[in-house]
Amino acid sequence: MENLLWVIPALPFMGALLLILLGGRLSGPAVSAIGVGCVGLAAVFTLLLGFQFLTDAPAGGVYRQEVWQWFEVAGFNPSIAFHLDALSLVFIFVITFVGFLIHLYSTAYMAEDEGFTRFFAYMNLFVGSMLVLVLADNLLLLYLGWEGVGLCSYLLIGFWYKEPQNGYAARKAFIITRVGDTAMAIGLFMLFQYFGTLHIQSISTEAVQSWPVGAQPALLIAFLLLGGAVGKSGQLPLQTWLPDAMAGPTPVSALIHAATMVTAGVYLIARMHVLFELAPVAQLTVAVIGAVTLLLAGFSALTQSDLKRVLAYSTISQIGYMFLALGVGAWSAGIFHFMIHAFFKALLFLAAGAIILSLHHEQNMFKMGGLKEKMPAVFWTFLIGAASLAALPLITAGFYSKDQILWLALAGERGNVWLYAAGLMGAFITAIYTFRMVFITFYGESKTHLEHPPGTLIILPLVVLAILSTIGGFIELPHNFGHVVLFSDLLRPVLPNLAVDDSLASAEWMFQVLAAAISLAGVLIAFLVYLKKPELHAQIRNSGAAMALHRFWYSGWGFDKLYGALFVQPFVFLATLNKNDVIDSFYSFLTSLTRALNRGLAQTQNGILRWYMMGVVVGALIILTISLLP
């Protein structure tokens, strides 16, 4: 069975290849069959393999399969080889399973689109790349997947390429993530310099042996890898592409820009946790980035009017939580939140997509309203997802995963109160903007006309994801509350456990209550401001300072402008200024110089005999003078 590991990434690739090669000649159902079928099959294989992995754990907790050796240069010999351990298992499960659901959903969502085949080709390509990313046993292969998903993200954001705006967003996404990738690539060079290999396991073992904690190279490498991670995961300071990435079709947003790809950074950091633990400063930076990002994104989410942009900011914010978790060493908590987040965020996006589709691609929340009655199934599933996002206590999976992070951010050996406070604040804001979204969209008066109500293929994934968003939390419960640790047990062989500050342990329940209260308070405020007293909302908005703040948050804290002024404009300015290549004009100058010399000399050839004789005499004079010189 484990020999079939290669099949999992190969299936979607095959699907993509088939769709590209046969593209034009296939009928719609055939395309759906190939597109969905490949991912579905991959999901089946994953389940089977996962089942085997769980029941009959392999030696060392790892399945490894080398397909072929990629290349070999002077001892540098990365392979096309796959490595399945608990961490990657979680990821491939999410990727294939959520991916499958989204593919299924897409058959309905994209049914009318002229680029139907293209869409599935890209999607399959994406799933394949993503699987390669998480299954890669060396960093170079990981990098392949990493860039591959970047490409697919680019293609899918710009899927509706006729709008130049979409193309712009797509390029922005690609380029900004590429900035991060560059840092990561440099990190790889350094790793190769120190270890002579990019094989992840070897690096992990050797790094511990050769470097003490806080070693300079470890720090540098960790920072560089972090650069890659923040780029891909939309964290500060490279987060600006993600909200714009919503230009793509909604299933894309759900799969790529919420559930899977954007969490690649989380995966990378978790994968290379050894390095981060050797570099506490870097790890702290991860936490700080996470904390700051979750706050910034949260505030921005508060002000958005586009449904998908709210979700996008919330994604940034939630990944901030994951980073926070990773940063404080709560590895499994981070991964747990990743999984849960994948469920509920996919759910939210898909539900939002259902709304958008029904409203004829209307994305502005303020033009919606009162949809609760019109599309109840969507409402309820959306509500479940929103509750999970807002971490409503006890019943939602989000509560458990987020609570774990908050707790460990405070009580973990690397946690501190500031990180905790930021997380708590974030939870409060999350609750507000989540329910702001719910209330504005589904309550109030109806402003639109429903065109086509969502079909089964759309509702079915929603329901499945809604269930997962609810029960998913129960596989990992706090030790004072059921103490289920299935998930962290699973990950234990891969990721180290976190020691908890014992002095606080007794007070854990207090903090849980606090977290629960905070999120409930957030819901309440949202209820008050957006549903109960809309005039209050308007009042706040219209005050000067708030308006400025609103605008500032709305624009994502002005990062776009800042980067525009710092990088884009100078680059474009320089490029246009130098379009004709200043160096070229130097050569043109040489040409005109010779021309001028030619013109000058041509004057001497005036055809007059006496002048020619003068030349001879001058020559004779020069020669005589030289002869006279000593």
Binding site: N598, Q605, G607, L609, L624, I626, S627
Partner: protein, 483 residues
């Protein structure tokens, strides 16, 4: 003068005899074909008599010396003159001028050049030079109804006479100092003396004026474009090759016999001349629209290149000069051959526009012209490349970096205008009437065959230079031994 000397003078005697016989035949009856045949025959016979002279060093005191260098340069001059003759037939056939005197003058000019290169005495030098010059005056203005021809002739005459006067004055000074006009004795005088007398150096400087004029190097170059343009194309070819080559041959003999490389001021003079010639020649040619003038300017530059090898002052340098002369002669003959071939009876085909689209009208002619231009530019597969390579080698060998650097710079400038002409030939042809009335093919057969031979030679030497190198080395051994 011994009777035995006559066998060694046979090539010269053949030329003399041929010119007289030709003159007599003209006196009896004018026949272009006969005169042409006689001239060709004379060249062939002269070359035949030249053959056994290889490998000797035979002085004919006090005037002449037959040695490897002399045989080489004479052979080159004879061959060149033969090619010029071949090209001339078709050129003059279509013109109603009296054609026969041309061949007499050509033979005499060749004679003068031959005497020039084997002379080792000022008198022989002077007489050889003047036989060459006086014949050239008439040759240049041979098409006397063309105003340009007359103008070129008078310009050349006055300037040549003036430079002759300079040269004579210089010779007189040197004679006044040394008391001899023969090179070997002059060398002996110099070797005995501790210091070169100022008067001698001055004399040398004034001779350089004359030499420089004939070579057409800066600043004595200004006649070149006008004379090239005004003279009939075959004569231009003759001036560009025989006259310049003869003078170069003399210069090398004179300098090496009198040991001129010892004197830094002389070297400085030639260095300045070389650099100025390269620069001025190439820069002047840059935007030239007249092919003949363009080639004139290019020849100024090429003489500058030659001086680099000359300045090297060792065997490699002389070899380089020899090789370059061969390559340059072939190339120049080919180029002017094409010009002559395309000319009509009103004017020469010297405008750049005459060549527009030539490649699509007359591919063979254009291909040969292209090859010649590429050779001038020093592009591989042509003799010019090997020649330039040789010159660079000699320059690098003696570490004359400034000169070598200038050579490189100038080659680059040169490439531009050679390529320009090629580009014009390959450009789309425009609606333009054929320039010339079509001659009977048999008439231009000689020209065509000559150019084909030249083209083949060009490529042959470019691809397999070793034969020529071998030949030159073999001949130069006796020259070197004679010193």
């Amino acid at each position: 003068m011994r009777l035995n000397d006559l066998t060694y003078l046979m090539p010269l005697l053949v030329l003399v005899g041929a010119s007289i016989v030709t003159m007599l035949s003209v006196a009896v009856k004018r026949n272009h074909r006969v005169v042409f045949g006689l001239t060709v025959l004379a060249h062939l016979v002269a070359m035949y008599f030249l053959l056994p002279l290889r490998g000797f060093t035979y002085p004919i005191p006090p005037f002449l010396i037959i040695d490897g260098w002399g045989v080489f340069t004479m052979g080159l001059i004879l061959a060149t003159s033969l090619f010029v003759t071949m090209v001339s037939y078709a050129y003059f056939e279509q013109r109603e001028e009296r054609k026969e005197e041309y061949y007499i003058l050509l033979l005499l000019a060749t004679l003068g050049a031959c005497v020039l290169v084997i002379s080792q005495h000022f008198m022989a030098l002077f007489l050889g030079l003047e036989v060459l010059s006086v014949s050239l005056y008439a040759l240049i203005s041979y098409l006397r109804t063309r105003e340009m021809s007359d103008e070129a002739g008078i310009k050349y005459l006055i300037l040549a006479a003036m430079s002759s006067a300079f040269m004579l004055f210089g010779m007189a000074l040197m004679y006044a100092v040394t008391g001899t006009m023969a090179f070997p004795e002059m060398a002996a005088f110099l070797n005995s003396g501790q210091e070169m007398p100022l008067l001698f150096l001055t004399g040398f400087g004034l001779i350089v004026v004359g030499v420089g004029f004939k070579l057409g190097v800066v600043p004595f170059h200004m006649w070149a474009p006008d004379v090239y343009e005004g003279a009939p194309a075959p004569v231009t070819a003759f001036i560009a090759t025989v006259s310049k080559g003869g003078m170069m041959g003399l210069l090398i003999r004179f300098i090496s016999e009198t040991n001129g490389y010892r004197y830094p001021s002389l070297l400085l003079i030639f260095t300045i001349i070389a650099i100025a010639s390269m620069l001025a020649g190439n820069l002047l040619a840059l935007r030239q629209k007249n092919i003949k003038r363009l080639l004139a300017y290019s020849s100024i530059a090429h003489l500058g290149y030659l001086l680099i090898a000359f300045l090297a002052g060792n065997q490699l340098g002389v070899e380089a000069v020899s090789f370059y002369l061969v390559a340059y002669f072939i190339t120049t003959l080919g180029a002017f051959g094409v010009v002559a071939f395309l000319s009509d009876n009103v004017r020469d085909a010297d405008q750049l526009e005459d060549y527009r689209g030539l490649f699509w009208r007359r591919p063979a002619t254009a291909a040969i012209f292209t090859a010649m231009l590429l050779s001038l530019a020093g592009i591989p597969l042509t003799a010019g490349f090997v020649g330039k390579f040789y010159i660079l080698a000699s320059g690098v060998n003696t570490q004359q970096w400034i000169l070598v650097g200038m050579l490189v710079l100038n080659s680059i400038i040169g490439v531009y205008y050679y390529i320009k002409v090629i580009a014009v030939m390959f450009a789309q042809p425009e609606q333009k009437p054929e320039l010339r009335k079509v001659l009977h093919p048999a008439i231009s057969f000689a020209s065509g065959a000559t150019m084909a031979v030249l083209g083949l030679l060009l490529v042959w030497i470019g691809v397999f230079p070793s034969t020529l190198v071998q030949l030159i080395r073999g001949l130069l051994v006796t020259f070197m031994a004679s010193l």
